[in-house]
């Protein structure tokens, strides 16, 4: 039982027992002496001597205990804390042996051990680093390849948890900053089609089988075409790969086309049928009836038919280019590609492109323009060209000009009907023009030049580029084999997913109206901080930020003017932290700021919570300093000065501290979340445990 008590408490008990024993022994000795003397009047002298001796003994024992506690017990606790920290974390720097100076050779011996450990670790680290560098280079190349795959790729475990995703998947899923490893794929994609496809593939029992499915995103109801393939797994249910492609636009175009076709039939069928009837009556019996009513009926039906055809034809022309999957291309890039093709054919081209983004099939256009230039050269019309791309209403116009006479439109039409050299059958200049719903024609210019003119219907000025799709991949393949727990208390610490967060605020008193001005969080999955899963936002507090607070975190009113308010930022954060254990340094402070707004956020922060202040107390004892600076210093973590007192800087430091505390907790036999919870509750006088 005594082994469960701390060393200092055991020593205190030892000295208390010693004092009590000594006092009892002295009292017993005096009592025996008094009995032997047999003089009752000496009782008061014996009593006085006994009380004096008792106090003297108690004072002496207390004094010795104090010295012992300070120089031995606490010194041992500090030394063991430092040793444990070095044993489980890569902490550099010499061991502080000053507190252990009265422990004889123990401190020098511990110093020697840590030095040897450090040297061995360094040698091992160097060897590992060499190999890691090689593997990292290979990994980077692989990541670059995967991030460039132009479809969304997800890899999920058998429990439908995300194990891998690329940048395109992030964009398609509408998951904001990042979907989050180890999150359920059903948080982003509707469940039924995925489960059906998974079951279908399991039933086929064919490792090479793939299943095509259509699914929709939870967030924006985007329709995605997906293909699922199972991963290889022995003896258990396998995970799977999902490749995703957004077909919302395809479906919309298809629906638009179908609707137009249906409308054409509907609007043409009726007047056509009516016309047939009316003309049938008018021409019955071989003559033509001149009945005014019939003539009016015929004129009305003809007008109706004519109106329908004109209107529908116009709509067809307007929407035709939208039915083709055209991509966005910079005008300068298109011009440059044509120039390169012409120069490869020993033709010269001067290009001039306005800053435009064109919606086009760049490959087709480059092939068409270079084909036309080559034909003009072959016909001896010109070898030097000027290619200009300029703004033209809502679109752009491409001009291929040369010095000389214009080419005949008949000749041009013939060329447009012939195949282009693009390596694909049936691609002609005419088909490229059809794809863009446009035309091409020759023009004579007043300065003796001629040109071919090709308008494009859609272009925009290249002022603001849309945010690029992050070229990244995020993964942890060990998640494929991760254990799942019914009860969080039974979950091993390294198997849990954590969201470490921190807030910067207008002040320290939420009860008096102080609010959050910055909120940052990172995710820890499989005992690793996921570098690319970061939540970081300024928050508009809806109240002034006192200068004294700005001095601490550097956030001013103008910086948060355009930032989301706590209801929006809180909702985003809640989504980011869904299904995770929350970790903060001094969690009650941050949680109070969040929980006050649960109503407006529309979500409850009822996550399991760990506090690194309490974890530090568990590992290093209550008497040590547990500020973030003290903890990170003890654990050999450096917070860059510019990151300190920023929500993200402190969050990353807290996350790294937690990761270094993890093995120390395990070394103390605290393996599960439940173990840690019951241990931190012993430190309740330091901070309130929020998992009540």
């Amino acid at each position: 039982m005594l082994t469960r008590l701390s060393l200092r408490l055991r020593i205190l008990l030892f000295f208390a027992a010693l004092a009590a024993g000594t006092v009892v022994a002295v009292a017993l000795g005096l009592w025996l002496g008094f009995r032997q003397l047999g003089e009752p009047e000496a009782l008061s002298a014996f009593m006085t001597a006994g009380v004096a001796a008792g106090f003297l003994i108690l004072g002496l024992v207390a004094g010795i205990w104090f010295l012992f506690d300070e120089n031995v017990a606490r010194a041992i606790e500090r030394l063991s804390g430092s040793l444990r920290a070095r044993a489980h974390a890569p902490i550099e720097g010499e061991l502080d042996t000053k507190p252990a100076r009265y422990l004889g050779d123990l401190a020098p011996a511990a110093e020697a051990v840590t030095l040897t450990l450090s040297e061995t670790r360094n040698a091992l680290a160097e060897a590992v680093a060499r190999e890691t560098t090689r593997l990292a280079a290979e990994k980077e190349r692989l990541e670059a390849l995967l991030s460039d795959v132009p479809v969304g790729v997800l890899l999920c475990s058998q429990d439908h948890q995300l194990v891998f995703y690329n940048g395109h998947a992030m964009d398609l899923l509408g998951a904001g900053a990042a979907p989050g490893l180890d999150r359920r794929v059903f948080d982003f994609l509707r469940k039924a089609p995925i489960l059906h496809a998974y079951e279908r593939l399991l039933e086929t029992d064919d490792p090479d089988a793939a299943s095509d499915l259509t699914c929709a995103t939870v967030a924006e109801a985007r329709v995605l075409a997906a293909r699922m393939r199972l991963l290889e797994a022995e003896g258990e249910k396998p995970g799977y790969v999902l490749t995703l492609r957004d077909v919302t636009a395809d479906l919309a175009a298809h629906a638009q086309r179908e609707s137009l076709l249906a409308e054409v039939l509907d609007r043409v069928r009726r007047p056509a049928a009516n016309l047939q009837t009316v003309t049938g009556v008018m021409t019955e019996n071989g003559g033509v009836t001149q009945d005014p009513a019939l003539r009016t009926a015929m004129a009305q039906e003809v007008a109706s038919l004519s109106r329908a055809i004109t209107e529908l034809g116009k709509r067809y022309d307007e929407s035709r280019s939208g039915w083709w999957p055209l991509s966005l291309t910079r005008a300068a890039d298109l011009a440059e590609a044509v120039r390169a093709r012409l120069e490869a054919s020993e033709l010269s081209a001067r290009t001039e492109a306005e800053k435009l983004i064109l919606r086009c099939d760049a490959f087709g256009l480059v092939a068409l323009l270079s084909d036309l230039a080559a034909r003009l050269a072959r016909e001896g019309v010109a070898r030097k060209f000027e290619l200009a791309i300029s703004e033209d209403g809502a679109g752009a116009v491409i001009d291929l000009a040369w010095q000389g006479t214009p080419v005949g439109i008949g000749r041009l039409e013939t060329w447009l009907g012939e195949p282009l050299e693009v390596g694909v059958a049936d691609v002609t200049g005419r088909s490229v023009l059809f794809t863009h719903a446009t035309e091409c024609w020759p023009e004579k210019l007043p300065d003796g030049r001629a040109r071919l003119r090709l308008p494009l219907r859609e272009a925009r000025r290249d002022h603001r580029r849309p945010p690029p799709i992050p070229r990244t991949v995020v993964y942890d393949f060990e998640l494929l084999a991760k254990a799942r727990y019914a009860e969080i208390a039974e979950a091993k610490l390294e198997d849990l997913t954590y969201v470490v967060f921190d807030t910067e605020t207008t002040g320290l008193l939420p009860s008096e109206g102080d609010e959050i001005v910055q909120l940052a969080a990172v995710r820890i999955v499989n005992a690793r901080r996921v570098e690319r899963e970061v939540f970081d936002t300024l928050v508009n507090p809806g109240r002034p930020i006192p200068p004294s607070s700005t001095e601490v975190h550097g956030i001013t009113a103008s910086m948060v003017a355009e930032a989301p308010t706590i209801d929006v930022a809180g909702r985003q954060f809640h989504r980011f932290a869904e299904g995770s254990v929350l970790i903060a340094h001094n969690a009650p402070f941050d949680m109070e700021f969040l929980r006050r707004h649960e109503g407006t956020i529309g979500a409850r922060f009822d996550h399991p919570i760990l506090d690194t202040v309490l974890l530090s107390a568990v590992v290093f004892g209550q008497l040590e300093g547990h500020s973030l600076d003290a903890l990170t210093h003890r654990l050999g973590i450096t917070i860059p000065e510019e990151a300190r007192h920023t929500a993200l800087g402190d969050t990353v430091a807290t996350a790294d501290a937690f990761l270094r505390l993890l093995p120390m907790l395990k070394a103390r036999g605290l393996n599960t979340f439940g173990d840690v919870l019951s241990e931190v509750r012993r430190h309740g006088r330091l901070l309130k445990d929020l998992n009540a």
């Binding site: 034809g313 116009k314 022309d317 035309e439």
Partner: protein, 137 residues
């Protein structure tokens, strides 16, 4: 009326007989001197020989397209005063632009209202009232 009291001359280049009949009828009623040919290949010879004030030119002709005829007319300086009104069933904005770029003076999409065609023809022929104006239509 054209200068000298002669009626304006119109050449209809149209391969579809039904629409050609209607155009013939309309031009007659409007009081224009007019002829019609159905072949694009013969159109240039006819235009040079007839030198009409206006060519009603269908775009979709067999062998030689209306665009080709239009371009050839515009390249012949002797035919500078010949007006061209192009007619097509494909009347998108870009087709219209192409026709006008190749030298057409007007562009009308089929199916068209007779009123629309009549207005366009009158505009191209100098806005003068035709022989039949006032007689109703």
């Amino acid at each position: 009326m054209a200068d000298g009291g002669k009626p304006h001359s119109v050449l209809i280049v149209e391969d579809e007989d039904n629409i050609a009949i209607a155009l013939d009828y309309l031009m007659t009623r409007e009081g224009y001197a007019h002829e019609r040919i159905a072949s694009g290949a013969e159109a240039m010879t006819k235009i040079r020989a007839m030198h009409p004030d206006l060519v009603l030119l269908d775009v979709m002709l067999p062998e030689v397209s209306g665009y080709e005829i239009c371009q050839e007319v515009r390249m012949d300086r002797a035919l500078d005063d010949v007006k061209i009104l192009m007619m097509t069933a494909r009347g998108s904005a870009v087709e219209r632009r192409k026709g006008l770029a190749l030298g057409a003076d007007g562009f009308i999409a089929k199916p068209f209202e007779l009123k629309e065609l009549r207005t366009e023809v009158r505009r191209l022929l100098g806005g003068e009232a035709s022989a039949a104006e006032g007689a109703g239509s």
